[in-house]
Amino acid sequence: MEDQATLQSAVSFNLNGEPVLVEAPFGERLSESLRERCGARDVKIGCNAGDCGACTVLLDGAPVCACLTPTHQVADAEVETPAGLARIDRYAQRLTTAFARHGAAQCGICTPGMLASAVALLRAAPSPTLEEVQDALGGVLCRCTGYRSILDAVVAAGQGEELPVAISGGVGAASARVDGVAKLSGAELFGDDVAPAGAPVVKVLRSPYPRAAFTLGDLDAFIAQTPGLICVLTAADVPGENSFGVIPGFEDQPVFAESEVRFRGEAVAAFVGEAEAMRSFDPDTAPIEWREASAVMTITEACAAGTPHLHAHASQNVMCQGYVACGDAEAGLAAADVVVEGAYSTSFVEHAYIEPEAGFARVVDGRIEIASCTQAPFMDLEAVARILDVSPQQVRILPTAVGGGFGSKLDLSVQPYLALAALKTGRPVRMAYSRQESMQSTTKRHPAEIRLRIGATSDGRVCGFDFEGGFNTGAYASWGPTVANRVPVHASGPYYIQNYRARSRAIYTHCPPSGAFRGFGVPQSAIAQETLFDQLAAKLDLDPLEFRLMNALDNGVRTVTGQSFDTGVGVRACLKALAPKWRVARDAAQAVNAARVSGRSPLRRGVGLAAGWYGCGNTSMPNPSTIKAGITPDGALTLHLGAVDIGQGSHTVIAQIFAEAIGVALHDLSFVGADTDITPDAGKTSASRQTFISGNAARLTGEVLREKVLRLCNASGEATLEILPGSGRLQVLDGAQRHEIALREMPVDSDGYALAALESYDPPIKPLDANGQGDPYAQFGYAAQIAEVDVDMTLGLVTPVKFIAAHDVGRAINPMLVEGQVTGGVAQGLGMALMEEFIPGRSENLHEYLIPTIGDMPEVETIIIEEADAHGPYGAKGLGEHVLIPTAPALFNAIRHASGACITRAPATPDRVLAAINAAREA
C-alpha cells in the first residue's frame, strides 16, 4: 500500500459510519484529507494550530482537532464529522433544534466544531450543567455570538428541549434565521468551500519585514525548476491600476509591491500551481533579495521630525484629519469648576473571525467570476474591474457565506490574486489565507493615542471638552479616513456639550493597514470620554448615572455637529432603564466587598457604567441600497438578497421587513442571491446600515409590490395576499371578496417575473462644514451598559461577572437577533478591554493573540429600548456596532470602582491592572 515514489499511501477508516479508503501524503493533516479527499467540507479550518476548534471531529467518539491529527493515525478508527452527526446522531438533531431556537449560530463557521464537541458531551453527560458545557466547548472559539446563546442551547438540548422554532412572523417576531438550516447541517458553503477539489491554488509571497526594498530573482527559471508550478504573478501582470482602496481618492495600496514594501505581510508576488504540488510549496523559497530598512511603527515615531514619509503625498505621515467644533472649548474649560484630563492609548485589535479569507475564481464566457467571502460585493466588483482594466460588466461577484467579517472583509483580500490568476492561467483557481497571512495582511482596529480634557460646572453640567486623537492607520489608507471623520463627530458621546473641539489625525506607519472594525474608532474614543466622565462625577460628588442623565442628549437637543432630532433620541431611556439595576448592583458590590475584606479575600467587586451612540450609515455621504423582489409565473414570491449577511442576521431582518410591508408570512418568501448579476446593489455591510438602509429599501419594495398586486384586482388596502408557489396563481382576499391573479397569463419582465418591484433608499444627510457642523447621519442608535467585575487585587486579574446592556434599537425587528448582536458585541468589547493586543510580527496566531473563550463571557442581560426613529423601517435603527462601544469603558469604570485603578491603556492585561492598582495605592 505504501508508495515510496509519491510519498503517500491509502488509509482506511470509517467516516460517519461508512468505510472509506483515502490516498493521502504521509503526514497530511486529517482536516485537509477530510475536506479535499473525502468531500467533508463541513470540517472547517480556522487556524491549523489547535487554537480555534473549527476542525473538531470525533475520533472514536472523542473530540480532537483534525488539523493536528496525522491522517494515517486514524487508520481503522471511527471518524465522525459535524455533517455526519447532524444527519444521524439523535443528540446532534436535538442540538441543531436548540441552536436554531437560541440563535446560537450567527455566521455559522464555528457551529460545526461546537456541535461536534457538544455531541461528545451529551453522549457522556446527557444533561450537562453550564460549567460542564463550558469545559466541553472551551476549545472552540466563536467570534460572533458571545457564547451565551450556545451555552443556553446546549444546556437546553440536554434538558430535552426539542421544540423547533419556525421561520415565521413579521416585524417584531423572534423568528429563526431564514438562512439557519444550512449553518446547522454543515451544508453552508464559506469562502474555501466552493472550489472543486483539485483546482489550481494561488499562494502569495509576502514581506517578512515591515519596511524593505527588494529585487525579485529569476522567477521564470524558478517556475521551470519547481514541479507543479504554473506561473507567477507580480506587479508586471496587473493590466490596470496596481492599487486599491475603499475610499475614492485613497487607493494607495498596491496589489503587488513594486520595489518597496511598507508592512510585514505585504504581497510582492503570487504563485499559481497544481493543487497537489501547492500543498508542499513554500513561497518563501522563491528567489528574492530583501534589503531591510528601519521602520516606523508608532504614531510618535511617524510624526517625529525627520522621519521619512511612507507616501510622497502625506507630509509628516498624516494621511488625513477630522475636525468638529462648536462653541468655544477653551473658554468652556476655563470657566469650569472642575476639570479632568487623561492620556489614553489603545492597541491594534484583530478581527479574528474564525474564517480566514478565501475564494475561488474562474473565467466564464470571457467574464471573470469571483466567489469569495466579502462584506461588499459591489465594491469588490468595481475594485477588481479597475485592477484588471475591464468594464464592471466583465466582473461577477458571488459572495459565499461569510464566516465573520466585523469590517475587515469590506476590503479586498484574495479577490485580485484570484482574478489575475484565473485570467493568466485560463483555469479555475482557488486560494485561502492561512491564519498567519490573514492576521499579517488584513486590516485591524486603529491603535489610538488620545488626549482629552473635560470640564464641568459645579451644577454638574459639562461645559468644555477638548479631544485630540491620533490613529495609527498603518501602511495604507483603507478606512482610515472614515475613522478620522467619525471620531470627532462621536467623541462627545451621547451628551449635550456646549463648547466642544475634537481633532483627529490618521497617521501612516509601517504597520498592517488599519481599517474598519465595528465602531470605526468610536470604541477607542469612548474609552477616554466615558472613563473621564466617571472621574468628573466623582469630583463633583455625583452618582455616575445621575451625572450622565444630567448631560444626556434628548429630543430637540443639538449634538456637537449642530444636528437635532425631534424623535428617537434614546440614551436617556437606556440610562433610566438601567437606573434601578445600577443601584442594586452597586449595593450588592458593597456587601460582597465587606464580606471579602473580613474573609481576607484578594477579590473586590466593582460595578461600572458607560453609554454610547453611533450614527448609522456613511458619514455625510450618500449610501443608497436597492432591493428587488418579484413574483414568478409559478406563484413564488422571491426576494433578492443583495445585502451580505455576515452572521448578524440581515437576511432575516430584511426578509421580515419585506414580508411585513407586502403583507405575507415570512415563510412564504423564497430567496435568491447574493450575486452581483442578479441582485441589485444593497451597499456594503458596514456602518450598521443594513437594517436601517437596506431595511428601508425592502420596506419600499414590499409596499410597491403590494400596491401593484392590489391595483391589479382593485382590492382595498386591507386585503391580504396569499402566496401559492407552484400554482401559477396569486390570491387576494379583500373582505368577503376573493380575487385570483392568473400569473402564467401575464407577460414577464427581463428577470422572468410576472410582477416585480425595485426600490432604493438613501438616508437624508447634510455635509459637514469646515467646523464639522451639519447632519452627518439620518439616525443614531444609543446604548448604555453596566459591567460587574471581580478584580484580584494581588494578581491584577479581572473577571467580568455580569453585563446589563440597554440598547435603543428604535424597533426590534427580531428580538432574538438583537440579543445575539448585543451579546456578541459585548464579547468583542470585553476582548478589546481585557486581552486583545495585536503586535505586528509577534502575535500573528490565535494563541499569542487571545480572544475570549466560552469561559470568559459572563451572562448578559439585554434590555431592548424602542424609541422609534423617524426614518428607520418601522422605526428601526442599526445596532451592529453600537454594542461594543460602551463595553470597554464600562469595564474600566468597574475596575476603578473595585480597585481604584485608573486604566488608561487597552487592553487591561493583568500586569497593567496590577501596575494601575499599585499606582492608585501610592497616589
Partner: protein, 286 residues
C-alpha cells in the same frame, strides 16, 4: 519509511536507530498526539517521516508498580484525568484539565509535553513535585533520568536521537500526601501560562509538614523547585494561612523570568509568589 504506525516499542526503536543515521533534517520524527508537532510547522507541510507511537499498547496504561507509579508514554491527558490515582496526583490532574482544551487533552500526551520541553509546559511543575523520572529506551539499552536532569533548557532535553521515552515513573507516596496546581493565564481556556505553580505536601502524624515540594513554571527556561522554601516549610503546622505567610520574595531566587507577550518579568515574579502562597494555603486547608 514515511509513516510508521509502530505496533511495538521494538519496532519504534529500530526505526529510530535507522533514522539516527540520517542528517538531522531528514530524520523521522516521533509523534504521539501531534499537538506540539503540527502547530510548530506553521503553514509548511510535514516533510519528515513520522514514527507514530500513540498505538503502542505497552505505552498506554497508567500502572501502579511496587515502588512507583508508571505513566506510559502514550498516556494522553484525558487518560490521566480518568485514571484512579491517589491524592498526591491531584495537582497533576488539575494541570491536565488546564491543558488547552478537551480536544488537546484527547490527543496530547504527558510524555509529549515533557519531550517538547516548553518553559510553559503545564505538566512539568507537578511532575517535579512528584519527583518524577523518565525512562528512555533505545536499541542500545534503557536508562532512567530524573525529570530535572532530563529538561535542559528551552526545547532542549537529554533525549538522544535514537531514544524513545517509554514511561514516566513516580515514586509512591503515603496516601496522606496532598497536592495542587494553580495556573495564571489571561483567559479561561486555551491559554499558555503566564506562570504556574505546583505544590505537594506530606503531613506527619502530628499535623506538621513532613515533606514539601514547590515548583514554578514559565518563570525560567525550565521549571524550578524552590528548595529554600521547601526547607522552611518542614515542621510547620498544616495550616494554610500559616504556610502562605512563610513565603518570601527571596524564595523565588531560582527563577529568572523574561518579558514576553504574556507578561513582564516583574509581574511574573509577583504572580509566582502569590500563586505559591495560594497553592500552599489551599493544599494545607484551614
Amino acid at each position: 519509511m514515511r509513516y510508521l504506525a509502530a505496533r511495538s516499542v521494538e519496532e519504534a526503536l529500530e526505526a529510530l536507530a535507522d533514522g539516527a543515521q540520517l542528517p538531522v533534517s531528514e530524520r523521522p520524527k516521533l509523534v504521539a498526539g501531534g499537538t506540539d508537532l503540527y502547530p510548530a510547522l506553521g503553514d509548511r507541510p510535514m516533510r519528515n517521516g513520522l514514527i507514530d507511537v500513540s498505538k503502542i499498547s505497552a505505552l498506554l496504561p497508567v500502572e501502579a508498580m511496587e515502588e512507583a507509579w508508571r505513566i506510559g508514554a502514550a498516556c494522553r491527558w484525558s487518560d490521566l484525568i480518568k485514571a484512579p490515582l491517589p491524592p498526591c496526583f491531584d495537582g497533576l490532574k488539575v494541570a491536565a484539565r488546564e491543558v488547552g482544551s478537551v480536544q488537546i487533552q484527547n490527543a496530547g500526551t504527558v510524555a509529549g509535553n515533557l519531550c517538547n520541553a516548553s518553559p510553559a509546559a503545564d505538566g512539568v511543575p507537578p511532575l517535579l513535585t512528584l519527583d518524577a523520572s523518565v525512562e528512555l529506551r533505545s536499541v542500545r539499552g534503557d536508562r532512567t533520568v530524573a525529570l530535572s536532569d532530563f529538561l535542559l533548557g528551552v526545547r532542549q532535553t537529554a533525549l538522544a536521537p535514537d531514544e524513545l521515552m517509554v514511561a514516566i515513573h513516580i515514586p509512591r507516596r503515603p496516601t496522606s500526601a496532598r497536592s495542587t496546581f494553580l495556573k495564571l493565564g489571561a483567559r479561561r481556556y486555551l491559554v499558555i501560562s503566564i506562570c504556574m505553580v505546583a505544590v505537594m505536601i506530606e503531613p506527619d502524624a502530628d499535623g506538621k509538614v513532613a515533606l514539601a515540594r514547590v515548583a514554578v513554571g514559565a518563570c525560567s527556561a525550565v521549571a524550578q523547585r524552590l528548595p529554600a522554601l521547601e526547607q522552611r516549610l518542614l515542621g510547620a503546622p498544616m495550616n494554610g494561612l500559616a504556610l502562605a505567610d512563610l513565603v518570601t520574595a527571596e524564595d523565588l531566587a531560582p527563577l529568572s523570568p523574561i518579558d514576553d507577550i504574556r507578561g513582564g518579568a516583574a509581574y511574573r515574579l509577583v504572580g509566582a509568589q502569590e500563586l505559591v502562597r495560594r497553592a500552599l494555603s489551599s493544599v494545607a486547608g484551614g
